[in-house]
Every structure is written in C-alpha cells, then in structure tokens.
C-alpha cells in the first residue's frame, strides 16, 4: 500500500517505520522527541487548559494569556458560570472554522464583560520569548513561537501577535473591534486564514481532539452555519481545568518551543531526510511546524 509520509500528531509519535525506508533516517522525529530531556517539556497548569466536552469526546485548548489576558479572564468567568453548557457548535465552514457558543445567549455570565479591548496584537517586551524561524513568510515580517504558540512579529513596529494556524482558537466578534467577549469561539480547521491575523483576538490552541471538531459535518447555510437545529452539536460542558474535579483533569505536557529539542525538530521538518523525500524543502511555514503535546509520562 503506497503511502505519503507522516505528519506528527499532537499526541503520540508517528511511526517512522511506516515510511517504508529500509534503513532508519539519520535522525527521525521520533528519535528527536524520545531522546529529549525532561527539561524540554513543560507542564501545562490546569488553569491554562479549557476542557470542551462534546458527545464524541473531549477537546482540550491551551490558552495564551500573554496575548489575550482579558479574553482569557472573561472566558474563565463565563466558564465558571457554566455559560456554555447546553449551547452548541453552530457553524462548521469547510477549510475555515468551527464555531461554538452564542453571543446572544441570555445566561448567567458570572460577571463577565460584554465588550473587551481588542487584544489583536501587543507591544513585545525584551524578555518575551520568541523562537524565530529563518524562513520567509507571506504575511508577516517574522514568524516563530512564543510560549508554545505560533506567532509573528514586526520588529519595526515592535508588535507581536498569534497566527491563525490550524487548531488555533479565536474569539468571534461583530464589526466593532471591541465587540468580542469570548462568548463565541472558533477553531481553525483548514488552510491557515492568515488574513485574520491582527483582526481578531486569538486566545489559544487546541492541543487535543481537534479531529473531533474538524470531522464534524459541514454547515450548508451562509458562512457554514447549520440550517437546522438538529444539525448542531451539543456542548456538554466547557470549563477550565482548575474548575473541574481532580479526576477529570488530564496532566498535559508540551514541548518547550525555546528548547534545543524544538530547534532540532524544526530543522528535521525543514530538511526531511528519510528515504521518501526526493527534494527536501529546506524551508517551513510557521503553520507547518508540529507542536508536540503529550500526556505526562
């Protein structure tokens, strides 16, 4: 059976042996990750995790308070008030986004605000971590990784922002820049819609269960909204990890994007060395770099 080579999955390493090479590549991604020191992995604290329970399983999001502190704080209040429980996934637009929640829901909001400052980008500080990629990017002067998230910078203006890569989670808004309040969220499920960068607040990334969202039936109404209520997917619950009992928390670890292991991973993905590749790209897009996450061993 002929195969295309593997993409690394967010959990679980891909089987290098499935590539069909008769001799192992010089340094496989599996080898890079399995030989990483413990210090290359960071624990994700429960207050940085959102657990979105759907009938088909669990979706887990890591939030990015450095980039969207007010949105994360507001979402925490909404989640604490069980604002989302019983709402639905109402929109699945192919090659674009899955969207859930409801900005018009008349539900307890736990004191959450109805308007927030945009948080589309911010002025980066000298001590803000940023692992830059050397490669050209269509949309930004510079791309790389901050706190494990794909990001971009403009060194001239001193601004930094998160990039709309597959699995990134943002906040729906109306035309007014301050009209997003985290009561309606979306996750990217297609080609990175980078034209949204700096136009909307990104607040996290799906680290587990993106396939549950991306394999939902597409909506056939305008903008990919479902036409019938029966098509919606129910949200069983949405809560931060520290709002859940301990037996429902999962201990995730993410590869540090400021580690030498991550640097080796990026080089491995820029220059594929296994027997399948005939013309390694020697380049990589910020949205093609795998960001490994595992359940703590």
């Amino acid at each position: 059976m002929r195969r295309l080579p593997a993409l690394i999955l967010s959990l679980g390493l891909t089987a290098g042996s499935a590539l069909g090479a008769t001799s192992p590549p010089p340094q496989s991604l599996d080898a890079i990750l399995s030989s990483a020191p413990a210090s290359a992995w960071r624990d994700i604290p429960q207050d940085r995790l959102i657990y979105l329970r759907l009938p088909k399983g669990l979706v887990v999001i890591e939030v990015a308070p450095r980039f969207a502190p007010d949105h994360v704080a507001n979402l925490r209040l909404l989640a604490g008030a069980r604002f989302f429980d019983g709402l639905t996934v109402a929109r699945v637009q192919d090659d674009y986004v899955v969207q859930w929640g409801d900005a018009e829901a008349r539900r307890p909001r736990g004191g959450a605000l109805e308007r927030l400052p945009p948080e589309f980008d911010h002025r980066f500080t000298a001590d803000e971590p940023f692992t830059a990629l050397p490669d050209l990017d269509t949309y930004a002067p510079q791309t790389g990784f901050t706190d494990g998230f794909p990001a971009a910078r403009d060194p001239l203006s001193g601004q930094a922002w998160l990039t709309h890569c597959y699995g990134m989670v943002g906040v729906g808004r109306d035309n007014a820049a301050d009209s997003g309040d985290a009561s309606e969220l979306y996750a990217v499920i297609g080609q990175a819609p980078r034209q949204l960068d700096r136009n909307v607040a990104l607040m996290g990334r799906v680290i587990e269960g993106i396939d549950i969202l991306s394999s939902l039936p597409r909506g056939h109404g305008p903008l990919g909204f479902y036409e019938k209520a029966s098509e919606h997917t129910a949200i069983l619950s949405l809560a931060f990890g520290d709002q859940l009992p301990a037996d429902r928390q999962v201990h995730f670890q993410a590869l540090r994007t400021d580690s030498s292991t991550f640097q080796a991973l990026v080089q491995n993905r820029r220059y594929r060395q296994d027997a399948w590749y005939k013309a390694p790209a020697g380049r990589i897009d910020v949205c093609n770099v795998p960001l490994p996450v595992r359940v703590a061993p």
Copy 2:
C-alpha cells in the same frame, strides 16, 4: 450572533450581507463574480473531470494534464476498467490527507502501467499560462496559477509545479520516485503540506464535494489509516465524465485564472475592504486564493 467573515465556497457565492456591514463594501467578491463577462468562465470538458461517488455524495476532481499527463492517462485506463469501484477510502489523517484506492488491488487495470515517470515538475514553456502573485512565498521563488490550478515556478531553473493546497489531489507512491501509478490517490484536507511539492505527482483539484472527504472520521492507526475495515468508506464508482452516460455528467465552469475578473478577485482578497476587517493583509498566500467553480448557468 458574532461572526467571522466568509470564505468563498467553491460553489455558490458567500453572502456579503451576512458580514453585518451597514453599507456595502467598495467592491464585494460577489459583485466581482456576478459582473464577470461570460468569457471569464471556461467550460470544463468531461474528459477533464473525475466523478468519485461515495455513499454521502459526489466528489468531482478536475485533472491537470499539463502537469501530469501520464498519470492522468493511466488513471483514465484504471477508471475505464472500473478499478476503483468497490475499493475504499482507507486513510484520513487530520490536517493532512484523505487517501483512497489500493495500489495492491488485484483487479482489472485496463492496460494501465504499474510505474510512471515522476511528473513532480516540468520545464515550463514560453506560452504556458501563469498568473503570478506578487507576494512572497515560504517555499517557492514564485507562485501563481496555471490553467486554474495553484502553481509555482523557479525562474532560474525554468521548472514549474503544482502546489499542495487544500483540495489538491495527488498520487500516492512508495519510496521509489516512479512507484506511483494513480491506483492510490489523496486529497489535501488541512494546512497546505507544501513540503510535498516536487516530491510527488499532483494531478488535479477537487472542485466539488471536498467537504464530503474532509468531514470523514479520522483514522486512528499509523498515518491516519483506519484500524478496522468497518471504518472504511466504500467507493461506489470512480469514472471520468466522458466515461459516464450524459445524464450523470454535470456541466461545470471555472473562473479563468488568466482573466481580469480573477485579477480583481485576487486584489479583493489581498485588500479586504469590508467593515469587519481592521487591518487588511495586503498580501495573500497561493493556497488562500479562492478558485471559483460553478454549475453552468
């Protein structure tokens, strides 16, 4: 209900009015397309169309004989021998590819070859159409569109190739460059895996029904292969349009990528002018440019 702006769908125009702007944008994508002259659209002949029938509906692929003439010809022989009918979709790897067919199937092949020249790229000629994008690309010296397909060029080496954008269809192969024979095909369903460019033969693009493929349940075996036969999706039939009776053919038209209408569309997508966008990108990736297709009016 808060919304993100629309992506154009491959069939059917998006509702500009759903963006919530109180006054219409200077020139909407809808307006650009609805005012296009008939000459901006090209008919796609039936011998350039593959009809892949699945239980959930029809997937239609336009083939690209300029880039992969031998693969298209071989696929025509396989399809004519009903090689694919009764085979399955065996692999759905999230954010990567859907794969179908079976290189090991012991079935009538209609004289199709078992090995083909790679057709990963070719030397472009002076009269080969190419609508170049002005924007930087991470992977290629130049990107643009040829015959309605996303493509790239290296002006120094004189080579041209198709790019692995969402919905593009390629030919699975083993490690040997000539081991692909079009008996196993894949479609891209995630972030463009551009590292595959020039490493594998792309032979077409899904112009209808990509959502049927992209919403299939993901496989949880290695490389996204299904672990159980019961998970596979049956292929009811795969045939070129001219191999089908007239009443099963659909008359598709595609926007010419060498038309002034397409140029206006690209500019519209580079500089979003509706009220939702606060910071238009002024740039676009070759894989973010919509390639409109319609059923002939």
